[in-house]
């Protein structure tokens, strides 16, 4: 409700009234909504990128843990650890026969196999590095 007394007392009221408000330009709302849409999409893409990037990170971590473990476990104790693992296997009632499982542990890999594993690990690291350099989000 407009107070008439307030208008008479205040000379500035002759010049300024709520009716003289400047209106927002046409298409104002649609401009904001399209900016919001773009922002929302980029956030979604970023979150998808984060999910994708977890897969190689986890695989790198697992590979690293395996390599480190292989170096840290003393050669003499390897046998006893494997024996312990094998002793638990019959309790699991696996469909595969124990003879076949035992043959897996007696498998001897060639010496160059460790070099291949390390090479794959280095290539994965290089791949991640190149992706982060050349596929930056705009």
């Amino acid at each position: 409700m407009i107070n008439q007394g307030k208008y008479n007392d205040d000379p500035l009221r002759q010049y300024i009234s709520p009716g003289n408000r400047v209106q927002a330009p046409e298409g104002f709302t649609s401009k904001i909504m399209s900016r919001i849409q773009v922002k929302t999409e980029s956030i979604e893409q970023r979150s998808k990128f984060h999910v994708k990037s977890w897969v190689p990170i986890i695989s790198i971590l697992v590979t690293t843990v395996l390599i480190v473990t292989a170096f840290l476990i003393p050669h003499s104790e390897t046998g006893s650890i494997i024996q312990k693992v094998i002793s638990y296997l019959p309790e699991l009632n696996l469909s595969i026969s124990m003879d076949k499982i035992n043959s897996l542990f007696t498998l001897v890999l060639p010496g160059w196999f460790s070099y291949i594993l390390i090479s794959i690990f280095i290539l994965v690291l290089l791949d991640r590095a190149f992706i982060s350099i050349f596929h930056r989000e705009k």
Binding site: D10, P11, L12, R13, Q14, Y15, I16, S17, P18, N20, R21, V22, Q23, A24, P25, F28, T29, K31, I32, M33, R35, I36, Q37, K39, T40
Partner: protein, 191 residues
């Protein structure tokens, strides 16, 4: 357009219906734009300020505590954005000579006398507004154009109620002096 309460649309947006935000923009865009325009003094910057303010509001909608009304919150963001933009820009202060005496062509066929008078008064007010500080411009706009009470203005600007009254009084006096001087100068020109 049939508007429900602001809180209804805020909740819709928070539930993931992004388009509900357009109702809030539609409802408040003129007030936001007017405040930005009166503080910064030009249409392009005002649009940028108002848009940025709405985007800030959208981004921080989750953090909106609803202690104040949505419009107060929006006004606060527009006010702060506009003030900081003007302070970084800091154009030279206009002198009385800068007011274009022939800004409205009273003799032309394009305007009725009433329209021309209205246009002239608007230009005069815009000119006088640019002669006071950006903070005073904000206060004048919120008080005269939006007819807000000093409590609400205080909430928006962060200035105490008593200080708002003092600042408004000074700004009003200065504007009236500027308007009177400019009108005198204009009369001389047209005579």
């Amino acid at each position: 357009m049939d508007y429900k309460g602001d809180i209804f649309y805020i909740n819709q947006v928070l539930e993931g219906r992004v388009n509900a935000f357009s109702y809030l923009v539609d409802k408040h865009k003129d007030s936001a734009f007017n405040l930005a325009f009166r503080i910064c003094g030009n249409h392009e910057e005002a649009e940028e300020i108002a848009q940025d303010a709405f985007l800030k509001v959208y981004k921080s909608l989750k953090g909106f505590k609803m202690k104040s009304s949505f419009s107060t919150w929006l006004y606060r963001i527009v006010y702060n954005t506009a003030i900081s933009m003007v302070r970084t820009r800091k154009k030279g202060i206009l002198s009385l000579e800068d007011f274009p005496v022939n800004i409205v062509d009273f003799s032309g066929d394009n305007f009725s006398e009433e329209e021309a008078e209205k246009e002239y008064r608007n230009s005069l007010i815009n000119f006088a507004l640019q002669k006071i500080t950006e903070e005073e411009r904000g206060l004048i706009t919120l008080y005269y154009y939006d007819e807000l009470k000093s409590e609400e203005i205080s909430e928006i600007t962060g200035i105490s109620k008593s200080n708002i009254k003092v600042k408004l009084f000074r700004a009003r006096q200065r504007m009236i002096t500027i308007i009177e001087k400019t009108e005198k100068k204009n009369l001389i020109y047209h005579d």
